[in-house]
């Protein structure tokens, strides 16, 4: 199982492309959360970034 272990240790996963998932891009799933994110952007905005 060395290969699986090696894969798990890589931060960027190997992804299989599945075109059947394309339909979810246009679907308004999780729309309530997107609305809340937009409200947060309107009222609070982004964090102040400082160079570290």
């Amino acid at each position: 199982m060395k290969e699986v272990k090696e894969l798990n240790e890589k931060k960027i996963p190997i992804i299989r492309i599945d075109n059947s998932l394309e339909k979810y891009k246009a679907m308004p799933i999780f729309q309530d959360k997107v609305d809340k994110a937009n409200e947060m952007l309107r009222t609070i905005g982004l964090p102040k970034m400082t160079k570290k």
Binding site: K11, P13, I15, R16, I17, D18, A37, I44
Partner: protein, 157 residues
């Protein structure tokens, strides 16, 4: 990140992912979506269970499949994939309930050492963003990939 995670499938823009949670209650398909918001480059991250009969996605259901660590590790790996080609993106996440937001906080805390090497992580506390600290009861989270740094390579030239 050394925790096991599930195999991911995605459509070609890498905004929608699917994986199968396998636990005590069997196989549960899950969907992760990075949705555009009103601000360019700012995306909302959400994930939930896919109902195989209706095709609906539910982000409020508590699956209790006994694999929450592996599920969170898989979601974190999707964030790595999503921000890998375009690093100047913001990813925002909040739970659908207080307990789910707490679960996210615990997940971030668990991987904090690993992910802070690659991401700026912020928590929303009393209406203000601050650098993520362990033990604070945040209502939302925001991450941004750090700029690339050169690492010593083991490859001999």
């Amino acid at each position: 990140m050394k925790l096991p995670r599930y195999e991911l499938k995605a459509e070609k823009s890498l905004m929608v992912y699917e994986f199968i949670s396998e636990g005590t209650k069997g196989q549960i398909p899950k969907l992760i979506k990075f949705s555009e918001t009103a601000l360019k480059g700012f995306y909302n991250l959400a994930f939930g269970d896919k109902d195989l009969k209706t095709g609906n996605i539910d982000d409020t259901v508590i699956s209790n499949n006994g694999d929450s660590d592996q599920v969170l590790a898989t979601v974190v790996s999707a964030v790595y994939a999503f921000t890998d080609t375009e690093r100047d993106l913001w990813v925002y996440a909040t739970g659908s309930t207080k307990s789910r937001t707490r679960l996210y906080r615990m997940g971030i805390t668990k991987y904090l050492e690993d992910v802070t090497a690659d991401f700026e992580i912020f928590g929303l506390n009393d209406g203000e963003w601050e650098d993520f600290r362990k033990g604070v009861d945040y209502t939302a989270f925001l991450v941004k990939r750090k700029e690339l740094s050169f690492e010593r390579s083991n490859t001999e030239i």
